[in-house]
Symmetry: C2
Subunit: 173 residues, 2 copies
DNA sequence: CCATTGTTTCCGTTATTTCTGAATAGAAGA
DNA sequence: TCTTCTATTCAGAAATAACGGAAACAATGG
């Protein structure tokens, strides 16, 4: 496959965005390419299209697989692995959020609990500081509780709720 | 100010999290420190506490100010600038989201529109690819529309909605 | 088995980012 | 005006991350 101008723009921009969110450029580019590609691509071809080393593609695909963003597939009569990514963007979003939660939010909650516990009866930590740590913990717990409930809803409900936008506010009043 | 063990843990972890989200370690550490600090801190003191160069603190504070996460303040009889950060975490979240939207989402939408336009009558871009670009654009527009409506609600309403959790789903059925 | 094809790992190189210390600029007070 | 205190800028050093190529490894088919 040869990239058209707009495909190239898409892929390059995605790579750029990746770096701003803590994902390296190659990884993000590969993800973008797979998202656009109508058919699964073998690593070799990804390397060619993006002009990066085959080994780099291998590493990046492993990374993407660890994020559950890329799946393996095979074509008849072809020994090579082919790769695809989720094309349902709602599902994609949920996967990314879930994965980041597990990798970053959960450990952060653990650290916060540890901080709050440790500070509890430590005379070196000012009262106000304890209060702020506790507030941060509570805040993040509120958000994750909300997240857990939202993620459990059927996807259709979720989409419908979002499309309602501000109208949900009526519920509160 | 001297950091207690739990304060140090908090600050270090925050720094670590920063790097995972595209914010550099010093910037995130300074933000964490200011969040904990009961009173505004001068740059000099921040440098001492965190053990980083004064110049680095200056740069990082500028960065934080550009994100609207840090404000300047002054103490009587002290020529030095002092710095504080938002302690209302809802407000903090909104600020970060708004800023990232402006810096990353809006430009991405622009690029996506450009991609879709350009691909429109370009024979080199397969039909399916066009469809996927369009789907991405629609998806991100749906999310930002939702965001714009949510952010307009009074903070109390927002909090209340979130605390309701999955119960809002009743609205849909 | 062996040859071939495909994949991953490893390590040195390159590129990028972050950080520091020195120099500079700017304010405030004497 | 001169001095002192504070803040910023900047060039290079240090640290980190990304990348490529070679070699090792694994799987398949003959």
């Amino acid at each position: 496959m040869e990239l058209s101008a707009s495909m190239e723009r898409f892929v390059l921009h995605w790579g750029e965005m990746g770096t701003r969110w803590g994902v390296n450029r190659s990884v993000a580019q590969i993800h973008a390419l797979l998202y656009l590609s109508p058919n699964p691509l073998p690593a070799e071809e990804i390397a060619e299209i993006l002009g990066i080393a085959r080994s780099n593609v291998s590493t990046s695909l492993k990374e993407l697989q660890s994020w559950k963003l890329v799946r393996l597939s095979h074509a008849l009569g072809d020994r090579r692995d082919h790769f695809t990514t989720e094309t349902d963007l709602w599902q994609l979003l949920l996967t990314i959020v879930e994965e980041r939660k597990q990798r970053e939010i959960d450990p952060t909650l653990a650290v916060l609990r540890q901080c709050v516990d440790e500070a509890e009866d430590d005379p070196h930590t000012p009262k106000e500081v304890k209060r702020r740590m506790t507030r941060m913990l509570d805040f993040m717990e509120t958000l994750t509780t909300w997240y857990r409930q939202m993620v459990r809803l059927p996807k259709g409900t979720l989409v419908a709720l979002m499309k309602m936008g501000g109208k949900v506010a009526k519920l509160v009043s």
